[in-house]
Amino acid sequence: MSHLRAFAAFWWDFLVGDDWRLAAGIAVTLALTALLAHHGIGAWWLIPLAVAFLLTTSLRRATRSGGSS
């Protein structure tokens, strides 16, 4: 069981990293982009804006906690 947990923890750390909200934000952004593109709306601007927002808010959270997270 501990091996299974260690394996899951490795992949979580590998793919998601220190801030799970970044990965969740990327997933939501991609879903929104696909939805807009499906309805014929040119949504090329959405991902860069979302990246800027996600990175800024993630850094703000990290600096509030002293940068340890």
Binding site: A23, A34, A62
Partner: protein
């Protein structure tokens, strides 16, 4: 850039569309060489910085416990990494191009934002910079303290395992990056060549210097790799989601410039914030 799944042959009958296609074909070599250069740089830098970290571990173990077992560990890890690239690379070609770009783009965005976030926190003084000399000292002390147990085939299993794990763990992310870049652009050989060139460069310098490569500006390289991964990740994920970028691949340098400006601005803001929080004379 491989052709998209959906064709547009019916549009090619109008003079305006013909002119657009001619223009696109004329610009194709320039676009391709630009994306080739960015692709090579991304795979080379990501591999180099991870290999510098792996080299420190291997050197520390080798200096204390002899070279045979760690080198066998390095070779074994390389075989596993090559197998990962060889197995995943062709498998990715079976995926539809849009699904592939969406999946790879999402993965690169996750990696890129993680790298960039850590690099900005380090540049801003909120995370300590990685000190290869300090890591080397810690690893050396640990290797010296560990019990020396001989194993099968006359290997020192402690030295073998530490070198194997070090190279495998540092190299796994690189393997994913190489497969993602190579698979999406249909140029796995180019990404693999860049990674091999980085490995060779770091290996040769490591043998010559025979010490951890403490002078390599690791955080600056990680900053650059984070930017490149986030740029390609954003580009491919958007294309995979059905978005057409204005200017096609020419959007890549614009996207890179936007993200670089944002990251530099954030790093500067964090540095100022950190200095304002500290009493005069104190260092981060």
């Amino acid at each position: 850039m491989p052709p998209r799944a959906e064709g547009n042959g019916d549009r090619a009958t109008t003079p305006r569309a013909s002119a657009a296609i001619s223009c696109a074909l004329e610009n194709e070599p320039a676009r391709r060489s630009m994306s080739t250069a960015l692709l090579f740089a991304s795979a080379f830098l990501a591999s180099a910085v991870e290999m510098v970290e792996a080299l420190t571990i291997v050197l520390a173990v080798g200096v204390v416990r002899g070279w045979r077992s760690p080198l066998v560990g390095v070779a074994a890890a390389m075989v596993v990494l090559a197998a990962v690239v060889a197995a995943l690379g062709p498998a990715l070609r079976l995926m539809p191009i849009d699904a592939l770009r969406l999946a790879v783009g999402a993965l690169l965005l996750c990696f890129g934002l993680q790298w960039l976030r850590k690099a900005i926190l380090r540049a801003g003084g909120y995370k300590p910079l990685r000190d290869e000399k300090q890591v080397f000292r810690a690893q050396t002390a640990e290797a010296a303290a560990a019990a020396c147990r001989g194993g099968k085939a006359g290997l020192d299993w402690y030295a073998f395992t530490i070198a194997f794990k070090g190279v495998l763990l540092e190299g796994l992310e690189v393997a994913f990056i190489v497969v993602s870049f190579g698979g999406t652009q249909g140029r796995l050989w180019l990404a693999a060549t860049a990674a091999a060139a980085a490995l060779l460069t770091v290996g040769v310098v490591g043998v010559v210097v025979h010490a951890p490569l403490a002078r390599v500006p690791e955080n600056a390289i990680k900053f650059a790799v984070g930017l490149l991964l986030t740029t390609f990740g954003s580009f491919w994920a958007a294309e995979g989601a059905g978005v057409q970028w204005p200017g096609g691949e020419l959007a890549l340098p614009v996207l890179l410039a936007f993200l670089a400006l944002l990251a530099l601005l954030l790093a500067r803001t964090l540095r100022r914030q950190r200095h304002a929080l500290q009493p005069l004379g104190a260092d981060a």
